[in-house]
Subunit: 360 residues, 2 copies
């Protein structure tokens, strides 16, 4: 029997609203005929959006909600209290109750992290969940990078747990038994890096039982090189590195656009070489890499980029479905047992439930 995952979709989140979320679901269903959806949000608006996708209708349930999390909602006790009435909170609750296998939202990232963390809680053995995403590389496969912003400060134990979770993710998508893992560092001798990064490196080097192959440090200029399956870092550095890569890629393509339009000759050259630049555009299109996974929770939650188009939303849904089918949560739970001695090794001094719960 084929698994038929039911994926809860926060239909109200994202810059483009319901129509893009529903169109993305239709596209994902078109590619994977076993997908089914729980569309969460205003029932009338959802019904209207479904009129454009008559084939999807039979595979969707609608869960009506009356409140939304807006993009400028701050994480607060009040937000968590009213979250059950929101489309985002109800999608996550469907995962919690076991009705849905995964939740996908394009809404406010901070709120999604907080609500998912509050409702689903960290898995046993994981102190802090982390945000993981796939980044393009020069090789055929993407690189899994985490944490991309869920935790501003991370201790060595957090980083080791991120390594195990990232490796589980890479194993699921690439079928590699022992994915190669590197720690992001500034890597030059003169500045030896942070204590937490060095302690994590020592632990990963010395521990043979881990379901991964630790390959030492990487510097941020090698993120897209494809030298590792997984890159691990704290959420502050990860967010800065991710944004710097995005910004620089846009900077270069903008310069290129400017250069190509600088003369008649270069405009002509651009037209001739269009298939080449289209290839580049495709490779760098964020919609082809959409879907950041909130790893380490008791349930699968995927963040779709707020500005993703229907192709991007479909990609995020596929990421969620893939993680459900491959039982990522169970795999991480098993893998994390290989670092059972972690608390003893690092002590509990660095233990901290994280920023997400501070002040809530």
């Amino acid at each position: 029997m084929t698994i038929e995952p039911l994926i809860a979709i926060d239909a109200m989140g994202g810059d483009e609203g319901i129509s893009v979320m529903v169109a993305g679901a239709a596209l994902a269903r078109h590619r994977h005929p076993n997908f089914r959806f729980l569309l969460v949000g205003d029932k009338d608006d959802i019904a209207l959006a479904l009129e454009n996708h008559p084939n999807l209708r039979a595979y969707c349930e609608i869960l009506h909600t009356t409140d939304i999390v807006s993009s400028d909602d701050k994480v607060s006790r009040d937000l968590l209290r009213r979250s059950k009435r929101t489309s985002m909170g109800s999608a996550i609750d469907a995962v919690k109750s076991g009705k849905a296998s995964a939740a996908v939202s394009a809404g406010n990232t901070g709120a999604l992290l907080a609500i998912a963390n509050f409702a689903l809680r960290s898995m046993p053995g994981i102190d802090r969940p982390a945000l993981a995403a796939l980044l393009p590389t020069m090789k055929d496969s993407d690189v899994v990078m985490l944490d991309l912003g869920a935790n501003t400060e991370c201790d060595a134990r957090n980083l080791v747990q991120f390594a195990v979770m990232g490796a589980a993710y890479a194993r699921v998508i690439y079928g590699i038994e022992k994915p190669s893992v590197k720690l992001l560092n500034i890597g030059t001798e003169e500045i030896k890096g942070k204590d937490s990064v060095r302690a994590a490196s020592n632990y990963l080097t010395d521990t043979d039982s881990l379901p991964l192959s630790f390959q030492g440090y990487t510097e941020a200029d090698k993120i897209n090189s494809g030298d590792a399956d997984v890159i691990v870092c704290d959420g502050y550095s990860g967010n800065i590195a991710l944004k710097a890569v995005e910004g620089a890629a846009r900077f270069v393509t903008d310069l290129l656009k400017r250069a190509f339009t600088s003369s008649i000759r270069s405009k002509f050259g651009f037209l001739v070489s269009r298939p080449a630049t289209e290839l580049l555009k495709h490779h760098l299109d964020p919609n082809n890499h959409n879907g950041a996974v909130f790893m380490g929770l008791n349930g699968v939650v995927v963040k779709s980029h707020g500005s993703a188009n229907e192709k991007g939303v479909a990609k995020a849904i596929e990421v969620a479905a893939c993680l459900v089918e491959d039982k990522i949560t169970k795999r991480i739970a098993e893998d994390i047992k290989s670092i059972d001695g972690l608390s003893a090794d690092f002590g509990d001094a660095g233990f901290d439930k994280g920023d997400l719960e501070n002040g809530i």
Copy 2:
């Protein structure tokens, strides 16, 4: 009377050795006939390299040294002890004694930072020196970014001092009275950033007397946007952001190269649009942005990239000369008085002489 700065050049540093350092000096001298040089290193090798630049000979003194700092020398007491015999250490000593106005080296960055810090010491009012560089932007001017790796951990007071130093640098090169300054942060609401960054932001917002215009936070995807004259961050984040930008720029240009060679048609298009891609190459060429400044010392020290060509070395020399002519050290000393109350505001808890002196 024209100022005739004598610039000490560590002739032995860099991947390419003496010939590139001397060729760079010749090129800088060609553009700026008032430059004079103190070439520090093996006198015979320098004399040999000068044979290719007969016009330069009359404007150079040679300081013979017998030892070098190698690229894999670790920062240690021993290194500092023998530094006086090295070309790098002697170039810096020439600045300390007042013989030279500035030192330029393409050698081991960590060693250069440590030796310069040890010999020249921080300026009054500066707790920690920082590494600053000019990064290309979409606008006409580059952005000054610091710290790019001298200090792994920085407190709010360090960041405020970096802001003042970076603004002094921007004022010198662009002649702007109050350069705009932004603090690098992860900037999203859900993760409010580090305490140190927020405290620095509050101070910079509240303090009117500063010779700069504080513009709040920037995220790493805006580094190359040209929205600010100066971007301030801790050395760990700065190094990661800088390397991520470099890596992503190379990634995109490599993808482009691959795309352009993927078919006969695109190869033809590439040839036609070559002037456009050359423009891009010129804009991104690290040699056009060479010369990282070690700011906050009692003297001007500039790091040339180890792999810089003669154009890059000339650029680093020009950066050094520009800072000397505009009396950057004196300007920073004056500007830093505007934050005289800083110790009182932040307390001395965060005061720390920095990583560079740890364990030495």
